[in-house]
Point group: C2
Amino acid sequence: MQQRATLLDVATEAGVSRSTASRVLTGTLRNVDPQLAERVLEASQRLGYRANPVARALRRQSTGNVGILVPSIRNSYFVHLVDAFTRVANRSHFGVVLADSGDDPELESRRIDAFGESLVDALAVVPTSVTASGPSIRRALERTRVVQVDRWTAGVDCGFVGVDNEAGIRLMVEHLRSNGRRRIAYIGADQDTSAGVERLAAFRAHAHPGDREILLPHFSTSAGHHAAQRLLADGPLPDAALCTADVLAVGLLSTLQKEGVKVPDDIAVTGFDGTDLLELMNPPITALRHPLDAIAERALELMLGPSVPAHPEKVRLPPELVARSTS
Amino acid sequence: MQQRATLLDVATEAGVSRSTASRVLTGTLRNVDPQLAERVLEASQRLGYRANPVARALRRQSTGNVGILVPSIRNSYFVHLVDAFTRVANRSHFGVVLADSGDDPELESRRIDAFGESLVDALAVVPTSVTASGPSIRRALERTRVVQVDRWTAGVDCGFVGVDNEAGIRLMVEHLRSNGRRRIAYIGADQDTSAGVERLAAFRAHAHPGDREILLPHFSTSAGHHAAQRLLADGPLPDAALCTADVLAVGLLSTLQKEGVKVPDDIAVTGFDGTDLLELMNPPITALRHPLDAIAERALELMLGPSVPAHPEKVRLPPELVARSTS
DNA sequence: CTGAAAGCGCTTACAG
DNA sequence: CTGAAAGCGCTTACAG
């Protein structure tokens, strides 16, 4: 670990000024003598020079990094989302800084501040709460460009990109009904998030008398496990469990099967997100596919696009239904 | 999104110099008049001041961030590892920057350079290849402090912290034998990584004549699926499949079951990492538990500790066996 | 086409 | 105890 070569070192080695060296190295090649350019390039090579990004960022007032804050990297839906986001960002030569808010508004607030005071030009956040996340996001908005992804918060004037939850629920309910399911149990969670709220509202708009609702604290596999136990305890089994997250569906299916319930014969089980957990289960689980690449692209456009509109866009992208063997 | 207040703004507002304002705000409170300190604090509050971390990093020659580069965030083992690493780093007030090398030495090399030229004080890397990752890691070592986690590369003088693979395999083989399993199929992958190499060598040291080996390109669920197909195609089933990664075990179990094989009656299946996938499967899968927190702690010590020893430490931490229902 | 100079926003010896 | 000044390593008007 030796002393890094600096721009001045390169310039000296090449016998030019820092200005010229900088011009060559940043590719502002117009207006540079090819001879000198060559010398600078060689010197830079010889010294193993790489521009110090901290100094560059300070001067340019921009780091070339974007941040993404998700509730939990343990939830595989967010892993897929981060994956898509990173791929799209890298395509435009942006680095990505990832953080996890532990599904906790308090921790989320600290993370947002860390980003705000930190090294990103813009921030994508999946808020943990439709209400409690408001203040931190508003605070972030004062310092940097922010877009909300997958979930929004109330009363915050900030762009949003996510899946169309209403369409997703409708697709799923129609699919179940058309397969003869008559008593659907809606397995919801995180009613304190916009996703939870929108999905439940959509379900109620399409519910029939025989249907019911089970609402859990968080989207997690253990919540799915608890939902299964509730189903088992509460008398006759419904003929479908519409889970509003893959992790819920996986936990629920796993628990039902351990109790000897046959899926899909006794009950249909559906997920929501399209993660690759679905294919691993036995039987593979019916769910939606979210347009994650498109979501990431639109999010980055909003984050990095030219101006900040007075009324930021809210973008909802339609999911597709992917029928597998549990329905 | 308004103009951020600068240190000069705070100083002016409080009627002091930047030096004093800086002293107060960085908590170098010795040698500051309490009166002035109070005024500075108030001004800072009023202006919503937060130090610009880029400027601070340039001046201090340190960012307060550490990086971690993993082969794939799709592999849930690495999610757990990153999780532990982040928790431990945050405890010491370090930020964490995460990147994914897509299991590809080429991409890995680019990511390492990005880190090297980027905004971290030290880097933890899980190399993709015991050979091909060498040059990039050596290059990183010239610019910043580096520690290898979970896997090492040949001929690179760099600290390492990981699980004791030999002990893990031994534990697992003994467990299977003591449960009466006589024909063990070793399901390996990534023979180009130190983990792959060490695990295979350990297995061979404990193998019996009836045992066999199936080696796959990568640790992934689809590789587990292929392993199951090979097992099914190759004549009489062994009575145990010792998988050297949880994702392998999950993919293999899932495929075997789809083909009507009974686990554990027909065959035992074991994982390796201790991710929470194991509990979701039906039946839950026997595996090891890695001491991830300890691994993260030791890694951070090596990354951030005082001096760089001439012969960097190689730390191997012992796993525990967690018997579940597949063995 | 090229270089001297200013400046991004901080922190920290140094002098007083 | 406090402030003027230097400097971290770049980039970019500006003058020539």
